[in-house]
């Protein structure tokens, strides 16, 4: 009896914010004059704080700015934690989430996704002296990664029996790897290669495992059912693709002259469907 009462009270509290949800978020954004975009701000080069200007910049920021410009409002970036991305969006604290968000089937039940804005593999970086050369060898070993993303579930799926320790930011996880608190570190390829590049001469002590743990389609998250907002976001992305601007933004942050060093862009802003 007591349990049902408690459950009823808690679920009533959980439903409360929904009753105040507005029907059309796009109209609200226009009225407000600003588009609030949730970003990580710790995920170079997607969103990070420029040490000179102290502003949040990056690949996802450029996309967010383009969307705000298309709607005709001011973009406002709000820093959020990895684990808070979906709740922040569902509760309406942010209009969009451009925060390295993986598009997967489980999440489709919770939120909507824009066209795929980035495709990345997730990889593991290991200490050379651990003698590990293939993913399955990580079984039973301590591997470090970021909390609340798809890295951990993907790692557990790819390597059954792995011991995972997670941290609030990828920097902390990477720091723990450098200190030897685990044999490996897992992250999205772009972020991982950048951390690897930052090692400098220490790089020789580490090796990036060749095989991907998984391939991830990243997209901008939109609150479920906001079709008008999704249409504007997708239109903006299509226009960027058509004008060649998408290619330019990609190479600006991920191209050969950056630490990520991508030679080519192997995806297009064309679909909001994912395989599998």
């Amino acid at each position: 009896m007591r349990r049902t009462l408690l459950a009823a009270a808690l679920s009533a509290a959980a439903l409360l914010p929904l009753q105040f949800a507005h029907a059309d978020q796009l109209a609200d954004i226009k009225k407000r004059g600003e588009l609030v975009v949730g970003v990580l701000g710790t995920d170079e080069p997607a969103t990070f704080v420029d040490p000179k200007t102290r502003q949040i910049v990056g690949y996802e920021v450029d996309l967010a700015n383009a969307i705000a410009q298309k709607i005709g409002v001011k973009p406002v970036l709000k820093q959020i934690a990895v684990a808070a991305r979906i709740p922040e969006l569902q509760q309406g604290h942010v209009d969009l989430v451009a925060a390295g968000l993986t598009h997967n089937k489980e999440r489709e039940a919770q939120i909507d996704f824009s066209l795929t804005t980035f495709v990345t593999g997730q990889k593991a970086l290991v200490k050379k002296d651990s003698g590990i050369t293939e993913l399955p060898q990580l079984a039973g070993k301590k591997v470090l990664t970021i909390r609340g993303g798809t890295q951990e579930p993907n790692l557990r799926k790819a390597v059954p029996g792995v011991e995972v320790v997670t941290f609030d930011t990828s920097q902390q996880a990477f720091q723990a790897l450098q200190q030897g608190k685990g044999v490996g570190y897992v992250d999205d390829e772009a972020a991982l290669l950048r951390s690897y590049a930052k090692l400098g001469p220490q790089k020789a002590k580490y090796v990036v495992l060749k095989n991907n743990l998984s391939t991830e389609s990243l997209a901008i998250g939109i609150k479920k059912g906001e079709t008008a907002l999704k249409a504007v976001v997708d239109d903006t992305l299509r226009e960027l693709e058509k004008s060649g601007q998408a290619e330019k933004i990609f190479f600006k942050w991920y191209g050969p002259q950056t630490a990520s060093g991508f030679q080519s862009r192997d995806f297009r802003f064309e679909t909001d469907k994912i395989s599998e």
């Binding site: 349990r3 459950a7 009823a8 808690l10 679920s11 959980a14 439903l15 929904l18 684990a83 979906i86 709740p87 489980e106 999440r107 039940a109 919770q110 470090l144 909390r147 609340g148 993303g149 951990e152 579930p153 320790v165 997670t166 941290f167 609030d168 902390q172 720091q175 723990a176 200190q179 030897g180 608190k181």
Partner: protein, 232 residues
């Protein structure tokens, strides 16, 4: 939005994760408490020592610990302090559960500072003539403390110490930042795997509340069973 689904909390994988978290939290509590108590007594004695330099060490310890947030302690004992160890010991430690070890050290040292102050107050509540009488009978400083003052003082100190235990219990949740798979950590994992934020954090809240209430219950039982005898 689906309704509150408590079946998820009663059985299955998510249930197991949350229970494992609760169990680890309780272990953190027990280990840190056992470690904190002797440190607290030692620090309290330092602070009441007749020697000025010992008093200063005790004072410095309490102020240094109390005036820095536990979160900073936690990160220091995980990312900072172990790096100073010699390579051999460091590798041995890192191959084991360094996360939990760091958390226990941070929690114990942090709680000990607060408990030391409570114990010191308890000692000061015992009339100083008792101490003087002990010394007059030929007991040393430590012997007087051990045989005369502390047995009375610790009894007075139990209620505030239990209240500190309550704080320690809630503080174990901070260990989540250094990757210790305690209750808050597991609740977060369940949330990101199942998107059941409400259920997982409801479980965590109820678990914290229940254990806290048990500790509070123990405190009032103790006070009833062993009332403070007025020192004369």
């Amino acid at each position: 939005m689906p309704l509150f689904d408590y079946t998820l909390l009663l059985s299955g994988r998510y249930h197991d994760m949350l229970v494992a978290g609760l169990w680890l939290s309780l272990q953190l509590l027990a280990a840190s408490l056992l470690l904190a108590l002797p440190i607290a007594v030692a620090v309290a004695l330092l602070r009441l020592s007749p020697l000025a330099w010992m008093q200063r060490i005790g004072f410095a310890y309490v102020e240094l610990i109390r005036n820095i947030p536990l979160l900073a302690h936690m990160l220091f004992w995980y990312f900072g302090a172990p790096e100073l160890l010699p390579t051999g010991i460091k590798e041995w430690l890192y191959a084991r559960n360094i996360e939990a070890v760091s958390a226990v050290i941070a929690l114990a040292l942090y709680s000990a500072a607060y408990m030391a102050e409570d114990i010191r107050s308890g000692i000061r509540s015992i009339p100083v003539v008792q101490f003087e009488a002990g010394r007059a009978l030929g007991f040393s400083y430590l012997a007087t403390m051990r045989r005369v003052v502390l047995p009375q003082a610790l009894r007075v100190t139990v209620p505030p110490l239990i209240s500190q235990t309550l704080n320690l219990w809630k503080n174990t949740s901070i260990a989540t930042v250094i990757g210790v798979a305690e209750l808050m950590y597991q609740a977060g994992q369940v949330e990101s795997a199942s998107f059941r934020s409400f259920e997982s954090f409801a479980f965590a809240s109820c678990a914290y509340l229940s254990v806290s209430l048990i500790i509070t219950g123990l405190a009032s039982w103790y006070q009833h069973r062993y009332p403070v005898r007025p020192a004369t």
